[in-house]
Amino acid sequence: MSTYRIQGATGEWEVVIGLEVHAQVTSNAKLFSGASTAFGAEPNSQVSLVDAAMPGMLPVPNRECIRQAVRTGMAIEAEINKYSRFDRKNYFYADLPQGYQISQLYHPIVGEGSLLIEQDEKTGIPEDKTIGIERIHVEQDAGKLMHDQHPTMSYVDLNRSGVALMEIVSKPDMRSPAEAGAYVRKLRSILRYVGSCDGNMEEGSMRADVNVSVRKPGDEFGTRTETKNVNSVRFVMQVIEYEANRQVDVLESGGSVDQETRLFDVATGTTRTMRSKEDAHDYRYFPDPDLLPLVLEDDFLEDCRASLPELPDAKRVRYETELGLTPYNARELTAEVETFARFETLLSAAADAIAKPETKIATQVANWALSVAPGVIKQVGDEADPSHATGERQAAILAMQDKSEISGSQAKEIFEIVLKTGREPDEIADTEGLKQVSDTGAIEAAIDEILANNQDKVEQYKGGKDKLFGFFVGQTMKAMQGKANPQVVNQILKDKLG
C-alpha cells in the first residue's frame, strides 16, 4: 500500500492515477502507408499520397506494426484479440489530413494485461505492486504544425502523419508519483526489450496522457482530469504532484473538479485547462469502411511469441538464482537493454578468457560492470572512447586479475589506457609494467629490508599488536611500487614474522 498522501486542511487525501502511454511503434514504414518513419527528416519529405490524404487514397495495414503491437501485448501477458477492428475518430485539424484518425475504439488488438513495479524504499514504493493494463490499441499519429515559420500563417509538416502508435492504457491503479514514474520506466524498459518502441521520450517516441483524481482514502473515485502529451518521467511525476495538490485545494475550498483536458507547462511546472468537457469533441467513431477486420492467424501469433526475448522480470530472477547476483545488482543490470546486453557480452567473453563457467564469475563481472568500469569511464571523461571498451578487452583484464597477474588498481589503470588508446590489455600490462610481482625472491628481499629497518615494530607485533601486520603489507607494497602480488606478500610476511 502506498503511503503517499496529500495533507489537506480537512485531512489526508489519496491520489488515483491512470496513464495512457502513446508509444511509437518501431517500424521502417507507417501504419497504413509505405512512407518512412525516420526522425528528423526535412519537413514533408516522408509523406506518401496516403499520408497526405489525397483523393481516392486508401490505407493498407502494415504487418510489422501489427506484429509489434502483438509482441508488446504478449510481453505484458495480455490477452491478444484474434479479432480486432479499426475505427475512425473524426475531427478537423490542420495536422490531420484525412479529417479522421484511424484508431481502435471498439475492438482493440490487445486486451487486459499487467506490469510489475518493484519495491523501492528510496523512491517511496514500499512493496512490489502489479499495475493493471486495460488495453493496447494501435492508431495513427498526426502531423505537426509549425507556428514560427511565417508571421501570419502556420505551416504543416506531415512527416509524422500516419506513423504507428500503440496506446497503452493502464487501469487507475497507481497511488503516487513514484509509482507512476516506476510504471513508465518499467513500461519503457519492456518496450525496449521487445524492440517495439525505442522509448525515446525526447524525440516524442513515447509520451503520456496523465489521468489524476483525488479522494479521501476509502471513498469512491473522484472526478479526474487528463493532462495531455507529457514527455518525460519527471514531468509525469510533476503533473501528478501539481494536479493532486490543485484538486485538493479546489475541493477543500468548496469547489468541484471539472472533468477536463489540461496541458502541462514545462516552464512553470503547472497545468492549465486545454478544453472543458462541454467543449469535448464528438469524435463520431465508426468502423473504418476502408479496412477489413483484423483477424490474427495462429501461425502469426506463434511467430510473435517465439520472437520474444527474455523479459526484464524473468531475466532479473535468473540473474539472482542462476548467476547468484545480489537483488540490487540483478535489478541494475536488467533495467535497461543496453546494460544487460553489455553485461551478457562481457560475461560470455570473460567466461572464455578465464575458462570458468559464467555462474562462477558472474559476481566479479557484475561488480566490474556496475561499479569498477563506470568509475574508470567517468574518471577518464572526454578522453575515453567507449568503442575501445570491447567485451574481449574487458574480459582480458578480468582474466589477468583472476590469475592474480594484475591487481585491482592495475586493472583500472590498464582499462584507463584501453579507453584512451584502444590498445590490447596484455600488451599494456607488459609494456607499461603493470603486472604484479609474484617473484618471491624480489619480495623477500624487500621484506627483509623493511623488517630490518623496523625492528621496534617487529617486536611490538610479536608482542601481540596484530594490527601492525597491515603496516608491513603497506610498506612492502610501497617498496614494490604496488606491483607485488598481495597473496605472495602476505604469505612471506606470515612466514617471517612467525
Partner: protein, 493 residues
C-alpha cells in the same frame, strides 16, 4: 466505311486487330463526335490527345505484331471520379476545382494497360451523390433520349450520368461508371444501355474519389453484354493497395459467355412489387421472366423480406461514410481554399466547405454527421448495419433456392431534368431496387429491355451470387438476344 462511332468495344477491338480500320481512325471519329456533342454536357474535360496517343500505340503494336490487349484500340469515357494523372479530376465538385492528381487510379491504369484510350473525363453527380446528374458543379447532363414528341431535356440518371449519356449517344463506345447504390444500373436503365456493378472488391477503389467506401464499386457501361464482359475483365483484379480488394483471379467472362440458361433457376422477389412502380415496368418484368424461361431457365418465386428497410439503411450508412470520407476536403492541401482576410483555421474550413460543396453533398454530410453523433449512433448507424446484415442474409436465403434474381432496375423510366429537384425523397426512391444488391455487395447488372409508351428505355436488373458475375452476364445476354433492343436516341445535339 461504316460509321465507326456506331461500333462497340468488341467490334472496335476485333476491327482494329483484323486491320479493318486503324485505332487512330476510331479515336479521331470519337473525338469528333465528342466535340460535336457539347449540348449533352457529358464531358467535364475532353482529352483527345490521350485517345490519339493510345490509338497510335495500338497501331504501332499491331504493325510490330504484338498483342493489342483486351481493349486494344478502344477509346472510352472516364467518369470524373477516377484519378487521372495530370488531368483535372474533380468528382464534379468545385472543392476539387483544378485538381490534377499525380497518380492514376488502378482501374483506369488497368484499362490503359489493356490498350484503351481516354476521350475525356465524364460528368457525374457531385461526389457521385445523386440519381439524375443534376448535382454536378459543371451543370446537368442531358440524356440523348427525349419523350416522343417532346423537346424537354430528360435525366440520363445518376450518378454516372455523363457515362450513360455518352455511351447512349454513341460519342463513346463504352465508359467507366461507379455504383454505390445504383449509380451504374439506374443511368444504364434510363438510357437503354448495359451496366454491371461487379461483386464488391472486384475492382480496386484505389484512386477513385470515395463516396461510401463499403459500397463503392466500379464497373463498365456499354451497349452490349459482350462489351461489358470484355471491359469488366480489363478493369477488375486484385490490388494490394486496396485492403478490401478481392484476392481472386479474374475469370475470362467474355470467353464463357453463354445465353443457354438450362439448369439455372431465376428468382422473382415478391417484395419488389412495390406501390408506385409503373405498370409498364411491371409488364417489362413479366416479359423478362418469359425471355429467361425461353432461354431454358426455371423461374421461381423468392422472398427478400427486408427489402423495404434497405433504402432507409442505405441512406444512413452511405452518408455516414461520406461525412467522414469528405472531411479531407478542408482547403489545407489541395483544391479550393477560401481564406477570408484575417480568418483562422475554423473559418477557413467553414468558408471553403460552404463554397466548395454543392447542396446535395452538404445534405448528405449533415445526415451522416448526425447519424454518427454521440447519442444517435446506436439508433441510426448501428441499427442500419444490422439491417444491412439482414438484407445480406435475405439474399443468402434466396440463393439457396435460385441462382439469380430478376427484378426491374428502377421503378420508373427517366424523368425530365428539374422535375424532382424539390423532392429529394422521391429522387432517392429511384434506387429502391438497386440498393439492396449494393448493401449485400453482390454483382448486379442492368440490361435494356424495351421502350415505354413515351419512347423511353426501360431496364431489367439481374443480381447474382457473390463472385458469380458470369451467371449475371449470361442471363443478361439471354435477355439481350431476345429483347433485340437496337433503339438509339434520335440525334438532336
Amino acid at each position: 466505311m461504316t460509321d465507326l462511332t456506331n461500333l462497340g468495344v468488341k467490334a472496335i477491338r476485333d476491327g482494329v486487330a483484323g486491320g479493318d480500320f486503324t485505332a487512330r481512325e476510331v479515336a479521331e471519329a470519337f473525338n469528333a463526335a465528342v466535340a460535336q456533342a457539347a449540348e449533352l454536357n457529358a464531358f467535364i474535360v475532353t482529352t483527345p490527345e490521350h485517345a490519339l496517343a493510345a490509338a497510335d500505340a495500338t497501331d504501332a503494336k499491331r504493325a510490330a505484331g504484338e498483342d493489342l490487349g483486351a481493349m486494344g484500340g478502344v477509346p472510352i469515357g472516364m467518369k470524373d471520379l477516377f484519378a487521372s494523372h495530370g488531368v483535372q479530376t474533380t468528382a464534379a465538385s468545385d472543392i476539387l476545382g483544378g485538381f490534377k492528381p499525380e497518380y492514376e487510379s488502378t482501374v483506369s491504369q488497368n484499362l490503359w494497360n489493356a490498350g484503351a484510350g481516354m476521350l475525356g473525363k465524364l460528368n457525374l453527380d457531385q461526389f457521385a451523390m445523386g440519381s439524375s446528374n443534376e448535382t454536378s458543379a459543371f451543370g446537368n447532363v442531358a440524356s440523348p433520349w427525349r419523350k416522343t414528341g417532346s423537346n424537354a431535356a430528360m435525366s440520363p440518371g445518376g450518378s454516372s450520368g455523363g457515362s450513360s449519356a455518352a455511351v447512349a449517344s454513341r460519342i463513346a463506345p463504352a465508359a467507366t461508371g461507379t455504383d454505390t447504390g445504383g449509380s451504374i444500373r439506374q443511368p444504364a436503365a434510363f438510357t437503354g444501355i448495359c451496366g454491371i456493378k461487379p461483386t464488391y472488391g472486384r475492382c480496386s477503389r484505389w484512386g477513385v474519389v470515395a463516396f461510401a467506401s463499403s459500397l463503392d464499386q466500379a464497373g463498365p457501361m456499354a451497349r452490349s453484354v459482350e462489351d461489358c464482359s470484355i471491359m469488366l475483365g480489363a478493369m477488375a483484379g486484385f490490388d494490394a493497395k486496396d485492403a478490401t480488394s478481392l484476392k481472386m483471379d479474374v475469370p475470362d467472362w467474355e470467353a464463357a459467355l453463354s445465353a443457354d440458361l438450362k439448369g439455372k433457376k431465376v428468382g422473382i422477389p415478391k417484395e419488389y412489387r412495390m406501390e408506385g412502380t409503373d405498370q409498364e415496368i411491371l409488364d417489362s418484368w413479366e416479359q423478362g421472366k418469359a425471355w429467361l424461361k425461353d432461354a431454358g431457365a426455371e423461374v421461381v418465386d423468392v422472398s427478400l423480406p427486408h427489402t423495404k428497410y434497405a433504402l432507409p439503411a442505405y441512406y444512413i450508412i452511405a452518408p455516414a461514410e461520406a461525412s467522414s470520407n469528405l472531411a479531407r476536403y478542408d482547403g489545407v492541401r489541395y483544391g479550393l481554399r477560401d481564406l477570408p482576410d484575417g480568418a483562422g483555421l475554423q473559418d477557413m474550413y467553414a468558408e471553403t466547405r460552404a463554397a466548395g460543396f454543392g447542396d446535395e453533398v452538404k445534405r448528405r454530410i449533415l445526415i451522416g454527421t448526425y447519424v454518427l453523433s454521440a447519442g444517435f449512433y446506436d439508433a441510426y448507424y448501428n441499427q442500419a448495419q444490422k439491417v444491412r446484415a439482414l438484407v445480406s442474409r435475405d439474399f443468402e436465403n434466396a440463393f439457396a433456392e435460385c441462382d439469380l434474381i430478376l427484378a426491374p432496375t428502377t421503378p420508373t423510366a427517366s424523368f425530365p431534368l428539374g422535375s424532382l429537384n424539390d423532392d429529394p425523397l422521391t429522387m432517392y426512391l429511384n434506387d429502391v431496387f438497386a440498393v439492396p444488391a449494393s448493401l449485400a455487395g453482390l454483382p448486379a447488372m442492368s440490361v435494356p429491355a424495351s421502350l415505354n409508351a413515351d419512347g423511353l428505355p426501360l431496364g431489367l436488373q439481374l443480381v447474382g451470387r457473390p463472385f458469380d458475375e458470369q451467371s449475371v452476364l449470361n442471363a443478361g445476354l439471354a435477355i439481350q438476344q431476345r429483347a433485340g433492343f437496337d433503339h438509339a436516341p434520335k440525334k438532336w445535339w
